[in-house]
């Protein structure tokens, strides 16, 4: 049985997928995950999930976010408005980073 492994490097961070292990049950999956994926990388916590329990949909099957122009959803589109507060500017900067990564891939 295959178990997918998610590692969290420090308290409060997100568990991120880092690989998978063979194991007959959850207890051993946790042990193998600790040895294989928590040995060198900084680790605070690991999750293991049976591979068969994971659902997947990919870009061949669906167009994520749709195909129509959705620029109106982005803070960066409202160019005549200065961000009202630091937290608004921070949100806009996060959105700009995502937009850049989308452009780089297309």
């Amino acid at each position: 049985m295959i178990w997918e492994v998610f590692r969290q490097d420090k308290p409060g961070a997100y568990h991120k997928h880092c690989g998978n292990v063979h194991a007959p049950d959850r207890e051993l999956a946790l042990q193998f995950a600790a040895v294989q994926h928590g040995r060198r990388m900084k680790t605070h916590s690991l999750w293991v999930v049976p591979h068969d329990e994971i659902g997947e949909i990919d870009a061949d099957e669906t167009s994520f976010g749709g195909t129509t122009d959705k620029t109106y959803r982005w803070a960066t589109s409202y160019t005549d408005i200065e961000p009202a507060a630091p937290e608004v500017a921070e949100s806009e900067a996060e959105q700009a980073d995502v937009e850049k990564s989308l452009e780089a891939d297309s």
Binding site: D25, P50, Y78, D80, P83, A84, S91
Partner: protein, 314 residues
Amino acid sequence: MDLETVKERAGPRQFAPKDDMPEEYRKAATRMIQFHANSEVMGGYLEKPFIRQAPSIDRKLAFSAKVQDEIGHAQLLYRAAESLGVKTRDEMLDELARGDGKFLNCFHYPMESWHEVPMIAFFVDGAAMHRQATLKNTSWTPYAHAMDKVCFEEGFHVKHGESMLSELMNGSKATQEKTQAAFETWWPRIIQFFGPTNDKSVHNDFAQEVGLKTKSNDELRDTFLDTYVPKAEKYGLVVPEYPRIEYDEELDTYHVNEDDLNWDEFWTIAKNASEGSHEQINSRAQAQEAVEWVRESMHGWEGASGAGTPQAAD
């Protein structure tokens, strides 16, 4: 974990579902996150009818996207609240429909014209975002993670809300006057968004001691005023004489004179007992009932397909 340890360890993203948290913490966090989730729902429902009244296709697209986001935020927050193990999402939604669930003061008032929309979409959202940015550092990790996504999206809401306000305040004189009138109506409610002063707040101390909140009501209200009073003035809105807003030169911050605000109204609303409360809660309850068949259908499906029953690990 005992309460003393919680207070010692309290800090940004310090506690997670795996930790054995004392009941006091779990109850306080549930109350706070449930209130937040309910407010996202009620805000979304208050704004929804105005999608149809948007004056242009661009506004309609953006505003419907925003309402969709708010309902999405409610979903994230109910999940974060559920992770405390005190109440299920169904219980919280039922409480909201019954009128027992509490939510933000601003969403207890009816909204009648498009001129009022930026009062919510710019000022209330701006106030919400100001508070939410500090909640990225809450001690309950699932709540902080919800805030990461909420704050990512809110930048669009606040800028779009400001864009609406800017458009109205650059419109005809009549439009500007109606917008000013809406501002005067909403301004005291917007200030009350941050709740009562620290000395009158019931839950403030405990929430701060265990790291659920990182800033007090007063700190948030003052820094909100510092940013948004100049913004209102920039668009030609005149800040009403009452409640008196005073600039404190020594601390370089604005203060509101609390006694000028209607706290009887605030506490009536806090009990869901105003006329507007009943209207908003009932219209939301009707909407929930109208789509009961969707939930029923999904529950039936869940049982039939075996989803939710984990397969044996063999």
